[in-house]
Symmetry: C2
Subunit: 126 residues, 2 copies
DNA sequence: TGTATCAAGTTACGAATGGTAACCAGATAC
DNA sequence: GTATCTGGTTACCATTCGTAACTTGATACA
């Protein structure tokens, strides 16, 4: 989300992953991909997110131009968040990764179980 | 890298981003994509990584089946890391995201500057 | 025989980040 | 005047990140 170390300066993919790699951004993006949504509606629909995390995530996405924020002059005021074109294009590009993940999730799980089993055996420990 | 909260259980893309979203995994993957490499060689070539972070990153990648670890029976023993087929396919799928990042980095930077400028002006503050 | 070095890590510990729970503000409804 | 709705913020704790120092086992050098 924030730059973690000086390595990021010239690496575009780290620049992206720093803001997509956190737990919530993708979940929020994919909700907003369905259409504009208000703060509390997102809070209800993004399973497990807290107010603070939603607030932080939305502000980061807004800062990076992925999400627009519009205050509706009502009482109590309502705030509508929506994907920008940039956000939509990012979300589209994530689909390749999502496809990979869906296809290979069983392999990853299997590898992990196998590794854990190997490491659990003292006989095989290095 | 590790599951961050219970939300991950059934979401494949979070499952992937949890292990690709950290600062180092992609850098290590992309080095290994060039060919097998030993620990200290990676340490030198992955700019800014520490021994601990390289160790942790490699172990996670190995556990998830992205990287293989081979101990060469020499003195002192050398350890060669290489991408597995699974790791190679992941790396390939990352390319779409990398292309997006490269193409849109200017837009993101511009959005960020614009946001920061707006927020720096007390007159425009909410 | 003792010292230095190299590989590939691990351990200990302080700093930064992530996450939860509680609180806040303004307005309206009862 | 109390409760409720909105959209947050603050304080605080737990986890994770990152750095620096140490470890192990073997070999080379003197």
């Amino acid at each position: 989300m924030a730059p973690r170390n000086p390595v990021n300066h010239a690496c575009p993919i780290r620049d992206v992953l720093d803001r997509v790699g956190d737990a919530w951004s993708v979940l929020v993006l994919s909700e907003l991909a369905k259409g504009p949504c208000r703060f509390n509606a997102l809070l209800r629909v993004v399973n497990g997110i807290s107010q603070r995390m939603l607030s932080v995530t939305l502000r980061t996405l807004e800062r990076d131009g992925m999400v627009s924020r519009r205050v509706l002059p009502l009482a109590p005021p309502q705030v509508e968040y929506a994907l920008t074109d940039l956000g939509q294009s990012l979300f589209a590009s994530l689909s390749a990764l999502k496809d990979w993940a869906t296809a290979h999730q069983p392999s990853v799980r299997a590898a992990r179980s196998s590794y854990d089993a190997r490491m659990a055996q003292p006989s095989a420990a290095a």
